[in-house]
């Protein structure tokens, strides 16, 4: 029953985003660092994140495919997908939320700090998060940047003992999106 309501909520949320005036991207950059400065740092970038912002009220939805995270080392990428993220079972991560006090008319070419409140879903586990972000607008493009952290334990990501000292408990995530009006 809960799952049905959740699906309905997401469906209505996304439908409302699609029908309103929007800014969107299919090639957002989402990166993360999962270790301290070690010999080979655990970091990856996803260059195909999709995001939509409803410019009338600041609603935002982000979706990314976990397997699209690109690592420098192929073996690290394989372990990330198979052992930690179970990307065959949970292929997507998403975020739905609202940019607080969003007003398109007040945005300029200079970055302005905003707060985004929403629900981040990774490995099928939902977590309420508040993210500090910077927004600016140049011509028909909206730029969204954000840095935030999540705990591996919040999303039930099991780290084997043997690599526990190499993988941070807190994963640093960086978002860098260039959203274009009316895609």
């Amino acid at each position: 029953m809960y799952m049905k309501f959740r699906f309905l909520f997401y469906f209505l949320f996304i439908t409302s985003l699609l029908s309103a005036q929007k800014y969107a991207t299919r090639s957002g950059k989402t990166s993360f660092i999962g270790s301290e400065q070690t010999f080979e740092q655990i970091k990856a970038i996803n260059n195909v994140s999709t995001a939509i912002v409803d410019s009338s009220n600041g609603d935002i939805a982000i979706l990314l495919f976990v397997s699209a995270f690109d690592f420098k080392i192929a073996l690290m990428q394989e372990h990330f997908n198979e052992n930690y993220m179970d990307s065959s079972v949970y292929p997507k991560a998403n975020f739905v939320g609202n940019i607080q006090k969003f007003s398109l008319g007040e945005l300029t070419e200079y970055e302005k700090n905003h707060k985004i409140i929403g629900v981040l879903t990774i490995r099928g586990i939902e977590k309420n998060v508040t993210i500090n972000c910077q927004l600016n607008k140049v011509n028909d493009r909206l730029y969204l940047k954000a840095d935030f952290s999540v705990l591996t334990s919040d999303f039930d990501i099991q780290v084997p003992k043997v690599v526990r000292n190499k993988i941070s408990k807190e994963i640093k995530i960086k978002v860098d999106y260039e959203l274009i009006e009316k895609l």
């Binding site: 997401y10 299919r26 195909v48 999709t50 939805a61 495919f65 292929p91």
Partner: protein
């Protein structure tokens, strides 16, 4: 005589450790197989692709008309977005809306936000 024997053993052990380390490093740092060398699990048109049940993260080959060009991203059959294009022999920059192309790429899955299927790491193939 015995010290010479010991010396040989030490050299043998060090050599063995070095060889194992080298193999281990080679294994850990092996490059990902390029998309051109990967075997495709599906090859056909967009309509055939939509009716077939291709598993996510599979390599597919699609033959289709380009329905939109958005920078480094193309749309096939109005429902498939292909991104991160790379090609040594053929250039995506020459592709226009309405062209019939054959692409090979990794099928990521269905994007609920844009309501389209997504392919990445695509390369252009010659239409044979």
């Amino acid at each position: 005589m015995s010290s010479l024997k010991n010396y040989k053993w030490i050299l043998f052990i060090i050599g063995g450790i070095m060889a194992c380390s080298l193999l281990l490093v080679n294994f850990a740092y092996q490059k990902e197989v390029p998309i051109s060398e990967k075997e495709a699990v599906f090859s056909g048109t967009v309509s055939d692709f939509l009716t077939s049940k291709v598993v996510e993260n599979s390599v597919v080959v699609l033959k289709s008309t380009v329905t939109a060009v958005r920078g480094e991203e193309l749309e096939l059959g109005g429902v498939i977005s292909i991104q991160h294009l790379e090609s040594k022999s053929l250039s995506f920059s020459k592709i226009n809306k309405g062209d019939l192309i054959v692409v090979k790429g990794i099928y990521l899955g269905y994007d609920d936000l844009f309501e389209e299927y997504k392919l990445i790491s695509c390369i252009l193939l010659n239409d044979e």
